[in-house]
């Protein structure tokens, strides 16, 4: 063999050998992306990010869950039936589902997971009050359950005094009826309480595991969820196997699905035992290119299409998927977000803050100078919904067509200039440069250039400060940022969650970042928070929305629509971001893989 032929043979062998290294996945294994460096903790009490949620809900479960077939509703998960509402919503009676067991784990006698009982629910919720868990999720139950706030104060005080946090200390609002039945007494009949029970932070965890694993509990999940942890390499991958002892849970019945979903084949798996897949494998992706390339290679079951790649998959004008992807049978779903992207004013700031007419006119002038549609077209491929006020599309209180009469929606430069003059700054003269803070991530550097140009048209100058997210939050919490920008993703599908951002007592460092204080608004919020859905509550939401629009503590808003692409071999996929336990419904058509 000549030398050249020998080298060629070696190269072919080497290439073939490398190719063999990329083994095909086993049957019913679904590779899924996490577009970040992944969860920081698998402990529901310590989690807060979308990715903590995405990971934790595979292992832990809540009493209620958002319906896969209708995200505006919830249904029992660990409960046998929806909770019974007593005393006009001040008390709820719960009945746990029989036969729900924790994962088999060494923390239980004999290694066999025991049945879930009422005490597990109380214990799990008490963990949110334990300051050793960071208190980052305490806001979910704060001022909600009779005696829980006092329990928190007393136990954390005991910790500070060198004692211990006594989880056995009673809470008046937790009433144990039997192993499977209990009642919860609320301080007031807050409707959001039931939505909180769908949120992963309120998941049920076994005390034995928490006590046995201590700090390592964050990486050793022992729950009741559809999957059990196989491997977690932080910031790289997370692999979970089907829970062989998963409780009796089936795919939603065909009658529950809409006609459109039925036509899409989503009802075909009706009645099937969950989870359907044997294994799910999450891979963490930080830059966008690898996730897009790996989806095209057919490796990943679905992806959330990065905005920058939208034009590669869709015609930006018609929003029609390109021929190549259609030919390959790739499916897609446009998922509107309960989203609020805004530019905010600090109402305590001496220049842009305040409630007098001239201050309002200054803020409105700024709002009128801005063209949110231009932001949408330039940075979001035109996929956002532009709307007035703080209530995103899909929620009660969202304005019809996204517009509210009299809202300072730009661009209206003539009116902006008039308001600016009436505020005492004709053509911006005499107005100091406004310091504007935003985070460095994404395309924010480009966005602020557009903002600078838009505001410059009426003579308003901004001093842009691109800072990392932690600095931004710190400045906002300290009320040092006169104007700033970020986004709010609604936690549960109730506008109350968005309106809480303007409730006076939530001012910085709470979620009311604009430090908006309006006693009339606060009174209406307190009234709305105990009301169930209905026209009366919607009317109240609308009045509160209009009040915010009139006082103008923010310019906005934009709600993103994300496009999810799914492989032809991925069955039962109806991607959503309202909840993340829908992977248990996914199936694989091996013949199409």
């Amino acid at each position: 063999m000549s030398r050249r032929a020998s080298i060629a043979a070696w190269m072919v062998t080497f290439v073939a050998a490398i190719a063999c290294a990329s083994a095909q996945p086993a049957a019913k294994t679904i590779a899924l992306p996490m577009r970040t460096d992944g969860p920081k903790s698998l402990d529901p009490a310590a989690g807060s990010t979308t990715y903590d949620n995405m990971a934790a809900v595979q292992f832990y479960e809540t009493l209620l869950q958002v319906c896969y077939y209708d995200e505006s509703r919830f249904e029992p998960l660990l409960l046998a039936e929806l909770p019974e509402r007593l005393d006009d919503g001040k008390r709820y009676r719960f009945r746990l589902k029989e036969g729900v067991r924790f994962h088999d784990d060494a923390c239980f006698p004999g290694g066999r997971g025991r049945a879930v009982n009422s005490d597990d629910v109380f214990y799990s919720w008490k963990r949110l009050a334990d300051k050793r868990n960071g208190l980052k999720n305490w806001w979910l139950l704060e001022d909600t359950i009779v005696g829980l706030d006092a329990f928190k104060e007393a136990q954390n005080a005991a910790l500070d005094a060198g004692g211990s946090f006594d989880y056995d200390a009673p809470v008046e609002g937790f009433v144990r009826v039997s192993d499977l039945e209990f009642e919860v007494v609320l301080t007031k009949p807050v409707f959001r309480f039931l939505w909180v029970l769908t949120m992963f932070q309120s998941s049920v965890v076994p005390r034995e595991a928490v006590e046995r694993y201590g700090q390592d509990f964050a990486s050793r999940p022992v729950g009741t969820g559809p999957f059990v942890l196989r491997e977690w390499v932080p910031k790289q991958k997370l692999v979970a196997d089907r829970n062989p002892n998963y409780h009796d849970c089936t795919y939603p019945e065909a009658s529950l699905w809409s006609e459109e979903d039925r036509a899409a084949g989503l009802a075909e798996a009706a009645g099937q035992r969950l989870p359907i897949a044997d294994r799910i494998e999450f891979t963490m992706y930080v830059p966008d290119q690898p996730v897009w390339l790996e989806f095209q290679q057919g490796t990943l079951g679905y992806i959330e299409l990065p905005f920058d790649y939208f034009s590669q998959a869709f015609n930006p004008r018609t929003k029609r998927m390109n021929a190549d992807l259609r030919r390959r049978g790739v499916g897609y779903r446009a998922v509107p977000q309960l989203d609020m992207i805004f530019r905010a004013f600090n109402m305590d700031d001496p220049v842009v803050g305040g409630y007098t007419e001239d201050r309002k006119k200054l803020r409105k002038a700024i709002s009128l100078a801005m063209d949110l549609q231009e932001f949408n077209d330039a940075f979001y491929s035109g996929l956002c919904v532009v709307y007035d006020g703080p209530i995103p599309p899909g929620l009660d209180g969202h304005p019809q067509g996204g517009r509210v009469a009299g809202a300072p929606r730009g661009p209206d430069l003539e009116l902006a200039r008039r308001y600016l003059a009436e505020a005492g700054y004709p053509d911006g003269q005499g107005l100091p440069t406004i310091r504007f803070y935003t985070s460095q991530g994404g395309n924010n550097a480009d966005q602020v250039e557009l903002l600078r140009r838009q505001l410059g048209r009426i003579g308003v100058r901004i001093d842009v400060q691109l800072v990392d997210f932690s600095t931004l939050i710190e400045l906002v919490n300290k009320r040092s940022a006169p104007m700033f920008s970020f986004a709010w993703l609604t936690d549960y599908p109730d506008a109350e969650n968005n309106l809480a951002l303007f409730y006076g007592p939530n001012e910085s460092p709470g979620s009311n970042h604009w430090n908006y204080k309006n006693p009339e608004f606060d009174a209406m919020y307190e009234q709305a928070v105990v009301m169930g859905p209905g026209p009366e509550r919607t009317a109240l939401y609308e009045r509160m929305r209009d009040m915010v629009i009139d006082d103008c503590p923010m310019v906005g808003s934009l709600a993103r629509t994300r496009y999810y692409l799914t492989q032809p071999w991925l069955k039962n996929a109806r991607p959503t971001e309202r909840f993340w336990s829908w992977f248990k419904y996914l199936d694989v058509d091996e013949s199409k893989r």
């Binding site: 290439v15 980052k136 910031k235 690898p290 939050i473 710190e474 919490n477 460092p509």
Partner: protein
């Protein structure tokens, strides 16, 4: 020599202490707690978290604790960002970094020295100009462009064309299973070879020009003329005389890059999803994970000091004129 090494180590202890002091001070300029708790943190939650993270303790106490732990190589402090100890975060990231940087350094240094020699031997000729033009072109293009194109064409496009996946688009698997060396090599090549090749292409431009300049400088020295006058062949002049004398700048350059070999290549690790030290350090800074940042930077400082001392020792070994005193 050993007394010299001990003395140099002792001289460098204050430098190390100052580096750690500055690092810890700088990290604490901005409060990391708010970032960890997100947009809805209450004052109480912030206070509880600060307490939990140990930031309420006096700064000298935090400084002394860190140094004491570092001196004992005790990395059992919990990471603030991950459900692991600092040791569990930092140490597993060393091998992935070395999997890229060691082959990349060896390849790029070897190839660049050879190209530098060829270019220097043909100084002013077409081959020299062509090689230097290639080097300049290599330097002109951004690292990021190589990575993006490498990923798109080297991993994705090639796989599509060949119908089999030669290189991974991204990801990493532990390949250090010595019981099956062929498998280990295959896995390494699948995940690491493409980043290594990209790294070599990028660094070769700089290295080749540097090594050529060093060799050209040596080639005009008197001893080279003397060697030639004595009748030495061109190969002997090049490898026996010239290369040996050029070793001091070559060693300096390689030793300077050593600490960065350990800390990895940030861009490559991020884009290729390789869980190396560079990415770990970057993540720890972004996520304000002070325990991990402090540990990695302190390790890096220690390695940098060690490599400086080692460089001096190597000078003495390769050049008899150098005496350690």
């Amino acid at each position: 020599m050993w007394s010299y090494v001990v003395r140099r180590v002792l001289y460098n202890v204050p430098i190390f202490l100052v580096i750690v002091l500055i690092l810890m001070g700088l990290l604490r300029i901005n409060d990391p707690v708010a970032a960890r708790l997100g947009k809805v943190a209450s004052a109480e939650a912030i206070a509880a978290e600060r307490d939990r993270m140990g930031l309420n303790r006096p700064f000298p106490e935090q400084y002394a604790d860190f140094l004491w732990d570092f001196a004992r190589m005790d990395f059992s402090e919990r990471s603030w960002d991950q459900a692991q100890t600092v040791g569990q975060v930092v140490f597993p990231s060393i091998v992935p970094s070395l999997s890229i940087t060691v082959p990349a350094l060896a390849l790029s240094a070897g190839v660049s020295i050879v190209i530098g020699l060829i270019a220097a031997a043909n100084r002013g000729k077409l081959i020299d100009r062509a090689l230097m033009l290639g080097a300049v072109l290599g330097m002109c293009v951004s690292y990021l462009v190589y990575i993006i194109l490498g990923q798109k064409f080297g991993a994705f496009w090639l796989s599509e064309r060949l119908g089999t996946r030669i290189f991974a688009v991204q990801g990493y698997e532990d390949w250090t299973t010595w019981s099956r060396p062929l498998n280990a090599l295959r896995t390494w090549a699948h995940y690491c070879l493409l980043p290594v090749l990209i790294s070599v292409v990028v660094t070769m431009g700089y290295d080749t020009r540097f090594y050529r300049a060093v060799i050209v400088e040596q080639a005009t020295s008197d001893y080279v003329r003397t060697a030639r006058a004595k009748g030495c062949g061109e190969r002997r002049v090049m490898f026996k005389h010239l290369l040996r004398n050029a070793m001091i700048p070559i060693i300096t350059r390689i030793m300077i890059t050593l600490p960065f070999v350990v800390v990895g290549s940030l861009l490559l690790e991020i884009f290729f999803g390789i869980p190396g030290m560079g990415r770990t350090l970057y993540n720890s800074i972004i996520n304000k994970d002070f325990p991990v940042t402090q540990a990695i930077v302190a390790l890096l400082a220690a390695i940098f000091i060690a490599s400086n001392i080692l460089t001096d020792v190597l000078y003495a070994i390769v050049d008899p004129r150098v005496r350690l005193s």
